[in-house]
């Protein structure tokens, strides 16, 4: 790209950039929280969640991998004022069956306050709305949902780093689906595999006062690829022309000899 082209392109871009600069920073009322999701019940999964809080409205981003593929994974935000605001440990296996079920984790993370459904209601009423949760194709979840309404108590809890994200659904007998004779503590019509927690993480307050969105635009491209192509091109043609004349002269002289 030559200089003139580059300047012509840069001018509108800079104009746009200065307009955006005038627009100023994002509203200060939004707080960001984030959780690293760690496996429980020997799930071979991992993930992370980010929740932005603006008053009583949440925006949730959740990514996970290694879950039981193509099975509905109920996912919730848990909170209770009296809970420890933590993920459960193995010592909380009250019935001694080797697994932490959803109820046994309650002392650590509290009750369901938000159901992370893909559509429709997001309240605790949808706690087991199996047909509206992500089914983790290939074991992966990539979930994003905004405008989730919560009570002011829950909004404050999330903002204060006291809420916990839990993703449910495990496969103890490794048959690729929710099965087994042990019934769910939440719904006896389901196997416990369908509702036992697989991933858990506390939503910690972000160390950023406001979380940046994506990368940065820190380049004009003025050093990328060939500069001064016009100068180089014309100069090169001139040199070739000159060489051509010299060659013709040489041939001419040789011919006259």
């Amino acid at each position: 790209m030559n200089r003139i082209q580059r300047v012509a392109l840069a001018a509108p871009a800079l104009g746009l950039a200065s307009l955006m600069a005038i627009a100023g920073p994002a509203g200060a009322a939004t707080s960001s929280t984030q959780a690293t999701l760690k496996p429980i019940n020997d799930a071979n999964a991992s993930g992370r969640a980010m929740v932005d809080v603006s008053g009583t409205t949440l925006t949730v981003n959740l990514a996970a991998r290694g879950l039981v593929p193509d099975q509905p994974h109920a996912a919730h935000i848990h909170f209770a004022a009296e809970a420890r605001h933590e993920c459960p440990t193995a010592s909380e296996d009250a019935d001694g069956n080797g697994h932490i079920n959803t109820t046994e984790g309650g002392a650590a993370y509290g009750a369901v306050v938000v159901s992370l459904t893909k559509t429709g209601d997001t309240s605790a009423k949808s706690v087991l709305a199996v047909d509206r949760f992500d089914t983790a194709p290939a074991g992966k979840i990539s979930y994003e949902r905004g405008s989730i309404k919560v009570s002011s108590e829950v909004g404050k809890a999330v903002k204060d780093g006291e809420a916990v994200v839990v993703v449910h659904g495990v496969d103890y007998n490794k048959d690729g689906k929710y099965s087994g004779s042990e019934k769910s503590d939440l719904d006896p019509s389901l196997p416990t595999e369908a509702t036992d927690p697989a991933l858990c993480g506390v939503l910690n307050v972000s160390q950023m006062s406001s979380m940046p969105n994506g990368g940065v635009e820190t380049g004009s491209g003025s050093t990328s690829s060939t500069e001064d192509a016009g100068l180089l091109g014309l100069g090169g043609i001139a040199v070739l022309g000159g060489l051509g004349i010299v060659a013709a002269r040489r041939r001419h002289l040789v011919g006259n000899r």
Partner: protein
């Protein structure tokens, strides 16, 4: 060859004149063209160095502390200082790539993306994102800089892609004190798939993120032509 044929018939004086004209034309083209190419090549600036990805981004850094430490207390807390308005960053030095820059400050656009230094006296300065922790505080302090200039030539972070794990980065603060960070990873991330959590997520100790543009350039792209960002990860030494 027709020239030779005609030349053979022309009187010797006319032939000599024509030879002189041709010689002069050839000399002018060679000199002028050569000079143009020389000037063009002289002004030529190499592409920014392509970041050679190196180092580990494992969530368990060598300090043995998970990066997901809590919001206040936790194993990394001692390494970091409580925030103090007196300790804002003023200067960055990366001796291995010849960077010395006063730090300007940037915030965010309405869409949440980071602002960048605007054309003017601060354009070629590195910039600290004021929404990130102060360097030396716990968390990922973010310092960005342009890779190249508004019209032509390199900018402050032109050679950021040359940085390697183990490189020292020094940040000076308003009280004159210095903090040294050690680079532990260098990455090239597509802006389309920028790993926000990896780059801006909570850390257990005081860390630093240096960011500029890199990768392929696409002049048709709406905002800034580079398709990727070079991100350098460092933690307090």
């Amino acid at each position: 060859m027709t020239d030779a044929g005609i030349g053979g018939d022309a009187p010797p004086s006319a032939r000599r004149r024509r030879d002189i004209v041709r010689s002069v034309a050839a000399a002018l083209l060679l000199l002028g063209g050569g000079a143009a190419v020389a000037v063009g090549l002289h002004a030529q600036q190499d592409d920014p160095p392509a970041a050679k990805e190196a180092g580990s981004l494992s969530s368990r850094p060598s300090a043995g502390v998970p990066s997901s430490a809590g919001s206040g207390t936790g194993p990394g807390a001692d390494a970091a200082e409580p925030p103090s308005p007196a300790l804002r960053p003023t200067r960055i030095r990366i001796p291995s790539i010849g960077v010395t820059s006063a730090l300007t400050r940037v915030g965010q656009h309405k869409d949440g993306t980071l602002e960048v230094p605007q054309p003017g006296p601060d354009y070629d300065k590195a910039a600290w994102f004021t929404g990130s922790p102060q360097p030396g505080q716990r968390g990922p302090a973010v310092i960005e800089g342009h890779v190249d200039g508004t019209v032509n030539g390199p900018s402050v972070f032109y050679r950021l892609g040359d940085v390697k794990p183990g490189t020292k980065v020094h940040v000076t603060r308003t009280d004159g004190s210095n903090i040294t960070f050690l680079v532990y990873a260098v990455r090239l991330f597509a802006k389309d798939h920028f790993p926000t959590f990896k780059v801006y997520g909570n850390t257990s100790g005081a860390e630093l993120r240096l960011i500029t543009c890199g990768g392929q350039f696409d002049s048709s792209r709406r905002a800034g032509g580079y398709l990727s960002n070079v991100v350098v990860f460092a933690r307090q030494a």
